[in-house]
Amino acid sequence: MLLPDYQFSKPATLAEALAVLQSGPGEVRLLAGGTDVIFNMRGRLFTPDILLSLRDLPELQGVSQLPDGSLSLGAGCRLTDLERHPQVKRYPGLVSALRAVASRHVRNMATLGGNLNLDTRCWYTNQTAEWRKAKGPCLKTGVDACHAIKSSPVCVALNASDTAPAFVVLNASAVLASARGERTVRLADFYTDDGIAHTLRQPDEIMRAIILPPPAGRMVYIKETARKGNDFAYATIAAWADGAGEQCSHLRIALGSLTTRPLALQALADELVANGMSDGAIAAAAEHVRGALGTLTNLYTPAAYKGRIARSLFIEALEQLRDL
């Protein structure tokens, strides 16, 4: 089956690409690795007028160390290249997250910017165009209705980015470029509670790079899936701490693939900083994970099961982090 009709635009520089975004009218969709965009175009979920290819933009390539020891990762870097990069290997938790994405085939194509800007998904949007047509449209496809939670006023589709929780706990920031200039947004603030406008990236902006603070502390990343390879997650967790053993003065925990955004569990993390990461303290904090998640949907798996997975991942990740 051919893709829907569109105009293919392949600018040579970031400035040219930003100009295309300004030129309007018509919907412009950014194309990086294509592994999600082309998938969604096949399903006619995306029917852009223009695909703007970012693949070869030099400004989006490369990994470089900044004067303060931070690392700048080009948003156009392929996941395969990042997970093998000597500078990135100094963040072993991040390498685990990068390797958790789909399959080697996909990671040979998919980019960092693409994964962090991955559109949200639910069991409805994942179906074919014919299936969706029979069911009728939803918030994401143009009407005021949600098939996942009937009463929901907003889209509850999941953020399935495997790497987003890792960047959140690493306190990374995104550099967003536009014709107006550049701005930097912490990944922890980048995602929203709306499954449609699910990031702070504006339509005229392109994610140029991710800035990682210098390597420090210890980190754990776990992805829970039905199958080991090439699968979307039931849930992911990333946890980062300084200190050693049960003691730390900073702890950050984020769960992924459960709601429209990576969920930071800062109140529970602060509790563990105060009490130490003993088995008892971890188990006590784990009892509050389900409550901290808020309303979960039955997307992919029942909400009750997701709550149990989140609790188990929380215990597993923090015990591993303590014992690192």
Partner: protein, 168 residues
């Protein structure tokens, strides 16, 4: 809506200039315009891997998720490009020797994935083989014989590598 463009593409070392629509993927072009039908269309959504071809670096990529025009000026190797001067590639021969084939539909994608695995280095552990093959599915015969065939070629490469030869 929009006009076709000329795509300059190198397939298995041969240069092509093709009139291509944005609606076509690399898979469509390889099969319908270049006329090499060894590369198969499966799920077209990146799950099954039967459309796998190798890029210029010898890595596995999914031709069904690649807009053809993204491959402007680039090279690709398909299953037809492995044979040289009438001789099968070592990985093809290993698949025959180990019987790593049943119905054969996925075989081009499995072999191009396996080729990418053996391209990636002389020293391959079990995890690296699994990692390289997780994105391609065989629903008939499973992956045991496939992995044995890869192991055989990898071990041969290891024996041939300069480091090992100097140690003998």
């Amino acid at each position: 809506m929009t006009g076709k463009q000329i795509l300059r593409l190198t397939v298995n070392g041969d240069d092509y200039e093709l009139l291509v629509s944005p609606r076509q993927t690399l898979l469509d072009v390889i099969r319908d315009q270049v006329g090499l039908t060894g590369t198969k269309e499966g799920c077209t959504t990146g799950s099954c891997g039967v459309c796998t071809v190798n890029n210029a670096r010898g890595e596995a990529i999914l031709s069904c998720l690649t807009p053809a025009l993204e491959w402007q000026g680039r090279a690709v190797t398909t299953i037809e490009g492995l044979e040289r001067n009438g001789e099968l590639d070592a990985i093809q021969q290993a698949f025959i020797d180990y019987g790593a084939v049943q119905c054969g539909f996925c075989t081009p994608g499995v072999i191009m994935s396996a080729k990418a695995v053996v391209n990636s280095g002389a020293y391959l552990n079990e995890d690296e083989i699994n990692d390289g093959m997780a994105g391609v599915l065989c629903r008939c015969t499973g992956h045991i014989k496939v992995k044995q065939a890869i192991r055989n070629v990898a071990d041969f490469q290891k024996d041939q590598s300069p480091v090992n030869r100097s140690n003998k």
